[in-house]
């Protein structure tokens, strides 16, 4: 299997204020060189995505998963690192120029909230037709209608709903419009940012089935961001767990759930509520994540919350190491399963 996407050493650091947090240009003028605090949103992330593969990206809010997918979909410029798509390094193309390249139609995204991500003044038809007009330069009305109808059909959106505005559609129908808009360009890579988070379980099941079918039929690769681990387990071949901007564990989905090696992954999996589960049986994670602003480069990011930390975790940042075939974890004490 060849790789469709290879990320290596991808970083995104946001400076906090132009002149440093809480400082104006006046104080900046007076002072000499000052240190601008940096928020390490994504730090040294490397992974590969195979052709037709689906990767789940999980982690707490603020762990950098949304920043990472915005880097991959090239809506943000990385601070450092390579993003290689089909053998071409797209990390160097400035985000504002990216929409003018051919890659834009090959990498598409489905956004989190189907209500917020649709233009309220565009009908479902207009929304799905927009990328065709902009990226494929389809101007012929008949061709446009054909391709929109085709995309709507693929996502199971009845044609009579196409002239409707978002407020006239239900949550599940809006989710379908969002997916149709993304697949109408026949992308090779589809990035899904919590596509079912705003949906009821009754609708979620149909959307998940639709996504699984689409991947099979269109041969797309998925990057699936979610914090519902049960959903990730069902839909993804491999899972990447992020914590404070770094990948802490990566493994095939079943392996990840049966033998989580990193203490954070273990806590994450134990925290999933289950029908008939007993909350007494688990130890909740104490405290809050460390600050992502100028983190100590020598300290494990999970230090302070980790149940099995030692002095070594404070002085030596654990790097990803292989503990089983296809299974890597960033913990000094990760055991081979």
């Amino acid at each position: 299997m060849s790789n469709i996407l290879e990320c290596s050493g991808v970083k995104k650091h946001f400076p906090l204020g132009k002149y440093g947090a809480g400082r104006s240009w006046r104080s900046a003028l007076k002072g000499e060189k000052l240190h601008v605090p940096m928020l390490h949103a994504v730090d040294d992330v490397s992974f590969v995505l195979g052709e037709g593969e689906s990767i789940g990206l999980v982690g707490e809010s603020g762990c950098g998963k949304s920043t990472l997918v915005r880097l991959i979909t090239r809506m943000l410029d990385p601070t450092a690192g390579d993003i290689v798509f089909r053998g071409r390094n797209i990390g160097f193309i400035p985000a504002r120029k990216f929409a003018e390249t051919n890659f834009r139609s090959k990498i598409q995204m489905v956004f989190q909230d189907p209500t917020d991500s649709l233009n309220p003044r565009q009908t479902a038809f207009d929304t799905i037709a927009e990328p065709l007009k902009r990226l494929a330069l389809v101007t012929d009305r008949a061709a446009l209608t054909d391709r929109v109808a085709d995309a709507a059909n693929k996502v199971g959106l009845p044609p009579e709903l196409l002239p409707r505005y978002p407020h006239q559609l239900s949550g599940g129908q809006k989710a379908r419009v969002g997916i149709a808009r993304a697949v109408v360009m026949k992308p090779d890579l589809l990035v899904l940012d919590e596509p079912t988070a705003a949906l009821d379980v009754s609708v979620q099941a149909t959307i998940l089935n639709l996504l699984a079918d689409l991947r099979r039929d269109l041969g797309m690769s998925y990057i699936f961001v979610s914090h519902d681990l049960n959903v990730v387990r069902m839909l993804c071949d491999r899972v990447i767990v992020m914590y404070l901007g770094r990948i802490v564990e990566q493994a095939p989905a079943e392996q990840m759930f049966s033998h989580p090696a990193h203490p954070y992954t273990q806590a994450l999996i134990r925290a999933i509520p289950a029908i008939g589960g007993r909350p007494d049986a688990r130890v909740p994670l104490a405290g809050e994540p460390r600050s992502p602003i100028d983190p100590d480069p020598a300290t494990c990011r999970f230090y302070g919350r980790c149940p099995s930390q030692t002095e070594r975790c404070h002085t030596e940042l654990p790097l990803l190491r292989t503990i089983a075939s296809g299974h890597v974890a960033a913990c000094h004490f990760a055991q081979s399963p």
Partner: protein
């Protein structure tokens, strides 16, 4: 268990019917809703969005929109007829006897008032705490919900806290007066699973310690199964089934409950095994609403389901389904 059952329930909602008058017609938001909460128990109310869970909790506190009309039924809370009580009496009850945790802690807290002062407001209104003791009491409240460094956090603004911390402040606010009933409306929606577990554990521990009854409104069946003693399932303004938690999952009698359980992702389940519920909630503005509002999504529907009053099927003394053709 039996002694608790014999006792008068803390809260009882009987045949509650509620409508909203809107420009596009009458919305029949709740119809003949029956629910009982006993002292110290945790009851989950689950259902899809739009099924009337939040409206029911607003009705219990009588903080309904001006367009709402309660056309039938009664709400009794510890001997008080909530629907007949004066606004003054209700203000005494709200916050002191019944308090509520809202869905989004960031919007529920006042963004321009220090969190310590917001808790002080509650104490000043509802308790006879001396002015000099207020600050200490607030810091105790914050410490009780395990906010680190409560002395310093006293003067923090909501935007300075994380989502989980804000929800802890909401819990401190709600439990400041040791209420008898706490209504938690989706308290962990939007929080991470790890934070969700910590918040729910905290809520359960504090409710147990003070013998507070909790109504947990959620759309997550798995969450309800872990934290609730009993569960009521709502669909389109009807309570379709109420039962002890284990009975709901072991022998659901209403087809909607069974569907809801089947559509909840389970560890180890495959995507093909995930059932979906066909169709949507019916439009509650329709004048020709069938008697059973699930009829158009139900594969077990009979002809009489549309016209006859829904029979209450008593499976066991504590387990009741409202269905014309139960499983």
């Amino acid at each position: 268990m039996s002694s608790a059952q014999d006792a008068v329930p803390l809260l009882s909602v009987q045949d509650l019917t509620l409508e909203f008058r809107t420009r596009s017609g009458l919305v029949r938001a709740l119809e003949n809703v029956n629910i009982e909460i006993r002292k110290g128990e945790t009851v989950g109310i689950v259902g899809e969005s739009g099924s009337g869970k939040s409206v029911l909790s607003f009705a219990i506190l009588r903080i309904l929109d001006a367009a709402a009309r309660i056309t039938n039924g009664a709400i009794t809370f510890g001997g008080l007829d909530v629907l007949a009580a004066s606004e003054g009496t209700l203000q005494e009850v709200r916050g002191r006897e019944i308090s509520m945790i809202f869905q989004n802690p960031r919007t529920a807290l006042n963004p321009i008032r220090r969190i310590g002062l917001q808790i002080e407001d509650v104490l000043r209104t509802h308790t006879s705490t001396l002015r000099d003791d207020l600050r200490k009491k607030v810091i105790d409240c914050l410490a009780q919900v395990r906010i680190p460094d409560p002395e310093r956090r006293y003067s923090a603004y909501p935007f300075e806290l994380s989502g989980g911390q804000c929800q802890r402040v909401m819990i401190a606010l709600a439990l400041a007066c040791n209420p008898q009933l706490l209504i938690a409306d989706e308290p962990t929606t939007g929080l991470d699973v790890t934070t969700q577990a910590a918040i729910m554990d905290l809520l359960r521990e504090l409710a147990r310690a003070h013998n507070t009854a909790v109504i947990l409104i959620t759309h997550d069946l798995a969450l309800a199964s872990e934290y609730c003693d009993r569960i009521a399932v709502m669909h389109a303004g009807h309570v379709v089934e109420t039962a002890p938690t284990h009975a709901i999952f072991e022998q659901a009698r209403h087809p909607y409950t069974a569907r809801l359980i089947a559509s909840t992702p389970k560890p180890g389940g495959s995507i093909a095994s995930l059932a979906s519920i066909p169709g949507n909630l019916p439009d509650l503005r329709r004048t020709d609403l069938p008697r059973c509002r699930f009829i158009e999504r139900c594969e077990r529907a009979l002809e009489r389901c549309a016209t006859d009053a829904l029979p209450a099927v008593d499976v066991s003394p504590d387990h009741r389904a409202y269905c014309g053709n139960p499983l």
